[in-house]
Symmetry: C2
Subunit: 137 residues, 2 copies
DNA sequence: TTACGTATGTAATAGTATAACATTAGAGGT
DNA sequence: ACCTCTAATGTTATACTATTACATACGTAA
């Protein structure tokens, strides 16, 4: 019984590597790829992919970031209550990603999951859209 | 305006590579990885990763198979009407994957998507579960 | 102190996917 | 039949993503 999302283990202090990776993702707001993170943080002392992946793994486990599976990228969690459930929109044209939460769509899905007979423990939803600015152009 | 899902371009005949890859996925029923497919089909004349990926890309485009993003795997489409929307359950313990369709959950999601204001063109849903046989043990 | 879990650093390697280029096969129009 | 155009093929090389293995360090609890 592993309690995945450990905002309960409160105030868990991050290590240096975890912190600088988290900061980068936070500042960016966009999904970033592991090797881009590595390049960006060379000057901060990150030398190897493994250092990045280990930090990313931990941050995912803590619910502070999410992996966008179809992009092999990682994005800051903008969901203060940090569920392990994730839902994104991904623009088919420009690739822009947004985490969605607390709207009719995700609430509706949560409702459906609760009603559902499958033993759903968590989910990852990727909705492909044409975002506003792409729709105009 | 590319019509992605071309069951309309009816009876599109597959090429040899596309056919043998599709057959393997069909016979298996499970998600398979590209390099596993390559190894399995060496005797049928497949020599390089690119041959596999090209066949896979085409089959995905035709809606005959789906990619399970979080597994880097490909699985036969069991959905006769071939929407570009996909929904899977993935067992967290044994990794078993099932495509789900035409049940309350997916119908509900479709309803939500129709009602939704975002310009959703398609979606990929991955629901993590504990499957029956894993739950018992 | 010892023991244990977790994080680190580094090197090597495994696994996933695409670029570039030359060639061939098929479908459609004339 | 011939030409043309698009899509598929074959091959090599390479890029991108992720993990294994091993040695070491750090903090905390017994």
């Amino acid at each position: 019984m592993s309690s995945n999302h450990t905002h309960n283990k409160k105030n868990q202090t991050l290590t240096k590597n975890q912190r600088i990776v988290l900061n980068l993702l936070q500042d960016s707001g966009e999904p970033l790829k592991a090797y881009f993170i590595l390049d960006s943080l060379k000057k901060e002392g990150l030398n190897s992919p493994l250092q990045v992946y280990r930090a990313l793994d931990k941050l995912v486990e803590l619910g502070k970031i999410h992996k966008v599976e179809s992009l092999n990228s990682f994005i800051i969690c903008n969901n203060s209550n940090c569920a392990s459930n994730t839902a994104f929109t991904i623009c088919e044209r420009c690739g822009k990603v947004k985490e969605i939460k607390n709207n009719n769509l995700t609430e509706g899905v949560n409702e459906l999951v609760r009603e559902n007979k499958l033993n759903i423990t968590r989910y990852n939803l990727e909705f492909y859209v044409v975002c506003k600015s792409c729709k105009i152009n």
